[in-house]
């Protein structure tokens, strides 16, 4: 065998021999031009390029337009569309049952920052290993355009109503609550999203994505800060991001000081080339300052805001067996008749 020439690797397949098509799902039923569909495409691309075995993925969501999208990617992965705002609990349970899974949750701003706020903060606090995407459009789409809790103060609804409440900044909150991978992105900027998603796959713990994803039907008008036009006009990259996976150790020359490298949990590397800001995303204080600056100034900065690869995730803290709990045999989980005898005799 060793003398036989290996056939050249087929083109357009990833390290598991799968094509991009293998990562697609059902056709989207969202409005044409919806930001969510753009995100779906980048999830497909990132999972394909990084090389994830579809059977290891659990796609999770709550309720809302965003929460429909797991049906539109990774058709060979199990999916669970749960109840409104409660995807974090499902995700936690799934990961407790099977620690080998790769969980990706897709939520919206209503699903996360309003009805689901309670579960969201506790998911972050626990550091459940998963990718948590908020497809943030500032409105409730499925119920026709009511403001959500991430709508900026002073923005105008399609109906003409003004939003007179302050927005919740999910990124700031996530960092404060101990999340160790926080980024903000824009559905109209696929170039940035793919390396960020790959970095999230390389991270162990909750990876939070706040992706501004315009609602073309209810929040894409003048006076909205979550429209395509507004986002395109205002987006500024904090840095240019590239991702080098652990299985492709390619070296590139660059000037020291120009690029910051972050080594991820799985051995992959994230390279950040300075763009608009001189910024260190491994520094929690700097990250919070940047977010505070954006909140106050209305600037729309995108990129990797905070990353920390040192902190253990929740499953590690529980000190469980390596095999998924769901796969343990009766012998592994049922104490013996002698154990019961011992317990009974103590109660006599």
């Amino acid at each position: 065998m060793s003398t036989t020439m290996q056939p050249p690797p087929p083109k357009n397949v990833n390290r598991f021999g799968l094509t991009l098509a293998d990562y697609k799902g059902a056709d989207s039923t969202l409005c044409a031009g919806c930001g969510h569909d753009a995100i779906t495409s980048q999830i497909i691309r990132a999972f394909y390029e990084y090389g994830v075995e579809p059977h290891r993925v659990a796609k999770l969501s709550g309720i809302g337009c965003s929460s429909k999208t797991p049906a539109y990617f990774l058709g060979q992965s199990h999916g669970f569309n749960a109840v409104h705002g409660r995807m974090p609990a499902i995700a936690t349970g799934v990961m407790l049952a099977n620690r080998e899974l790769i969980a990706i949750g897709v939520s919206g701003d209503g699903d996360t920052a309003s009805i689901g706020m309670g579960q969201f903060v506790h998911l972050l606090r626990r550091n459940i290993p998963m990718i948590y995407i908020i497809e943030n459009n500032g409105v409730y789409g499925l119920t026709k355009g009511q403001f959500s809790a991430t709508a900026d103060y002073g923005t105008k609804a399609k109906s003409g109503d003004m939003n007179d409440l302050p927005a919740i900044d999910v990124c700031t909150m996530a960092i404060e609550l101990g999340c160790n991978f926080v980024c903000r992105s824009f559905a109209g900027d696929p170039k940035q999203m793919v390396p960020l998603l790959k970095a999230a796959l390389a991270h162990r713990g909750t990876a939070l994505f706040d992706i501004i994803s315009p609602c073309v039907t209810f929040n894409n008008h003048e006076g909205s800060t979550k429209s395509y036009k507004y986002a395109k006009d205002h987006e500024e990259l904090i840095h240019e991001i590239s991702f080098v996976p652990f299985f492709e150790q390619i070296t590139v020359d660059y000037n020291p000081g120009e690029v910051k490298e972050v080594e991820m949990h799985d051995g992959s590397t994230v390279r950040l080339r300075k763009a608009s800001h001189d910024f260190d995303p491994t520094n929690k204080g700097e990250a919070l300052n940047l977010l505070r600056h954006c909140y106050d100034s209305g600037e729309f900065l995108t990129g990797l805001i905070y990353v920390n690869e040192e902190k253990p995730d929740f499953l590690t803290q529980l000190n469980m067996v390596n095999a998924p709990l769901a796969t343990l045999s009766q012998e592994q989980v049922q104490p013996t008749p002698d154990d019961l005898k011992e317990i009974m005799s103590e109660l006599m």
Binding site: T92, G93, M320, V333
Partner: protein, 618 residues
């Protein structure tokens, strides 16, 4: 067994006014304030009697409070094995100034009162036997530490009661040593207190006026004392639970807390790794959500809660029903509605459990009556939930869950787990494909796959929205209706799988009892009372699960009237039974309802039946 009922002995005693001894048939009530550390003393007292071979039960009536409010602990010893609550108190230990007067006023004549002498109760009534004891002073002789003095006063009353009632001192020491296991200093101090109490009673009290005595029997050999929550926890452990997620709520908290203790001792391997995950969630919604997520991914998962928790879990439980996900839910019921009486008992979550969720839902519910059934049914619940891919409720109550009960030792579940219809990669290879919600076997139960199954055909999409047999989104009327009809078929199939009722037909009985859960203990005693006092034979149907089985109609057909006895106001179980029976049989239902927050007692049931029968029930 005695041929004379306890009641008859008492009546004779009162008439003759002699001090005839009453052996192994009495109830002791200790009235204290909560947070005073009396629980250990009361347990020692109860265990000492138990160790003498005398059937005994203990009920803690406590406030929703941490310290300073009244609490009562009642110990009933009964040679005939009746362990339901008994209303009448024979021997009162009055330690709480706030309730002492009322406690004394509630006693029947000729009963015995031991009390802290500064409470000065002697003059309250003339028809009781009072024993003032200087508990504080006696405790002061043992230690100068004021906190310790309070605790030791509690053990001193145990010594006094023991001496007055002839409880074997050796057994008291054994019980005490067990209670303070491993704490040498506490054992020594408490032994000293016990002895101080005994000595004081022997030297100063005239016990000839106390008719109640303990005499060694042989009825508790090989038995254990355990509370229902611990028993349920053990059942879960031996059922191989791997994920337990919960939120603290009285009276269920100790279920998962005890589970954590046992799992720590028996489910951590030599490498120090746990074969389980127990997580305290942020609320009940998250608790059940995590358990459902884990059940979906293939773990044996559970949560435990009480009524308010069930209210919060409604939406998620509806999802698990409709999307067909296994999860075991313990409801240790308390008094509702709303916050209600959080530390009192009731069977009032029946309807909120069996129809939990909006939309058409029917849930399976198991109803243990004893601690051994808590154990057995916990094991059953995990098999049933995976077999039927639906939430399984286990309904206990505060009385069963938090009180100590005497029981035979639990039987090891010597059977293979039923992991239900799960297809693995090999199965899929043979089948080529599968439809998640197709009724392949005609029992209403589809086949499922677990995430992580390495096969391109394994994946499906779970959703709480309308779906067809292939698990695809559908709003088609026929898809919706077919799915709902299949869910109903699954429920019908479950009738043969759930724990069957225990039915006892009495010779010549025209009437029957129907009861479930802890009401059982009052029913068996009431049956005996009605037989002995009224020559009235009453059959008994003990319901152990919902859905009902075919035995139900048969039982109603064979009796003129059936007294459905339950611990709630609205006759919740009777209303479900009525829906199940023909109108003709349903008309035979007579409800006996007990809902003041205290465990139901036999005399209440007996009186209700006599009144109804004499009142000319047709």
């Amino acid at each position: 067994m005695s041929d004379q009922s306890p009641q008859a002995v008492m009546e004779e005693d009162q008439r003759s006014d002699t001090k005839e001894l009453i052996i192994n048939d009495f109830s002791i009530q200790v009235a204290t304030v909560n947070g005073s550390g009396s629980q250990s003393s009361n347990t020692v007292l109860m265990r000492s009697i138990f160790q003498m071979g005398i059937p005994v039960s203990g009920k803690n009536l406590f406030p929703s409070n941490i310290a300073g409010l009244p609490t009562w602990f009642t110990i009933r010893a009964n040679k005939d094995g009746w362990i339901a609550r008994r209303k009448e108190i024979d021997f009162l230990v009055a330690m709480n100034a706030d309730t002492a007067r009322e406690d004394v006023m509630s006693l029947d004549p000729n009963r015995v009162v031991v009390y802290e002498e500064t409470l000065n109760l002697k003059h309250v009534r003339k028809d009781l036997h009072f024993f003032p004891i200087p508990f504080a002073k006696l405790a002061g002789g043992i230690t100068t530490d004021s906190r310790l003095r309070k605790l030791l006063a509690n053990m001193i009353y145990v010594g006094v009661v023991g001496e007055l009632m002839d409880i074997d001192p050796a057994e008291m020491e054994v019980a005490l040593t067990k209670q303070f296991k491993g704490k040498a200093k506490a054992v020594a101090l408490n032994k000293q207190a016990l002895e101080v109490g005994r000595k004081f009673a022997a030297e100063n009290l005239d016990r000839s006026v106390v008719p109640y005595r303990c005499k060694r029997m042989d009825l508790t050999k090989g038995k254990v004392i355990i509370d229902g929550n611990s028993a349920s926890a053990l059942g879960c452990m031996f059922a191989g639970v791997t994920v337990a997620t919960w939120y603290p709520i009285t009276p269920s908290s100790s279920l998962c807390e005890t589970l954590a203790d046992y799992m720590h001792d028996y489910r951590i391997g030599e490498d120090g790794k746990a074969s389980y995950a127990i997580v305290q969630a942020e609320d009940e919604l998250a608790a059940v959500g995590m358990a459902i997520g884990a059940g979906w991914a293939g773990a044996r998962s559970m949560t435990s809660t009480a009524g308010p928790g069930i209210s919060l879990m409604n939406e998620f439980i509806g999802l698990a029903y409709y999307a067909e996900i296994p999860v075991v839910i313990f409801d240790v019921t308390r008094v509702g509605p709303s916050t209600g009486l959080p530390t009192r008992t009731q069977q009032s979550d029946i309807l909120s459990m069996v129809h939990c969720s909006h939309g058409d839902t029917k849930h399976i519910m198991l109803i243990p009556a004893s601690v051994s059934e808590c154990f057995d049914m916990a094991v059953d619940a995990f098999d049933l939930t995976e077999r039927f891919q639906t939430p399984i409720f286990v309904m206990t109550d505060l009385d069963l869950g938090m009180n100590n009960w005497m029981s035979d030792t639990f039987k090891y579940p010597n059977r293979k787990f039923d992991r239900g219809k799960v297809l693995n990669a090999e199965d899929l290879q043979k089948l080529g494909s599968f439809k998640r919600y197709a009724d392949v076997d005609g029992d209403g139960i589809g086949y499922r796959t677990l995430p992580g199954t390495k096969h391109p055909a394994a994946a499906y999409f779970t959703r709480g929205s309308g779906h067809n047999a292939s698990a695809l989104y559908s709003e088609r009327p026929d898809d919706y209706k077919n799915n709902m009809d299949r869910l109903l078929k699954k429920y019908e199939t479950a009738r043969q799988y759930v724990p069957q009722p225990e039915v006892e037909y009495k010779n010549g009985a025209r009437i029957g009892f129907l009861a479930f859960g802890t009401t059982h203990w009052a029913i068996v005693e009431s049956q005996d009372q009605l037989q002995k006092e009224q020559k009235m034979a009453v059959s008994y149907y003990r319901l152990r699960a919902i859905p009902f089985t075919s035995h139900l109609s048969e039982f109603f057909a064979k009796h003129d009237r059936v007294y459905v006895v339950e611990q709630n106001r609205d006759a919740q179980m009777a209303s479900l039974i009525k829906l199940e029976l023909s109108p003709e049989l349903g008309a035979k239902i007579r409800s006996v309802l007990h809902y003041n927050g205290l465990p139901i007692d036999a005399r209440f049931v007996t009186d209700a039946v006599i009144a109804a029968e004499k009142g000319g029930s047709k």
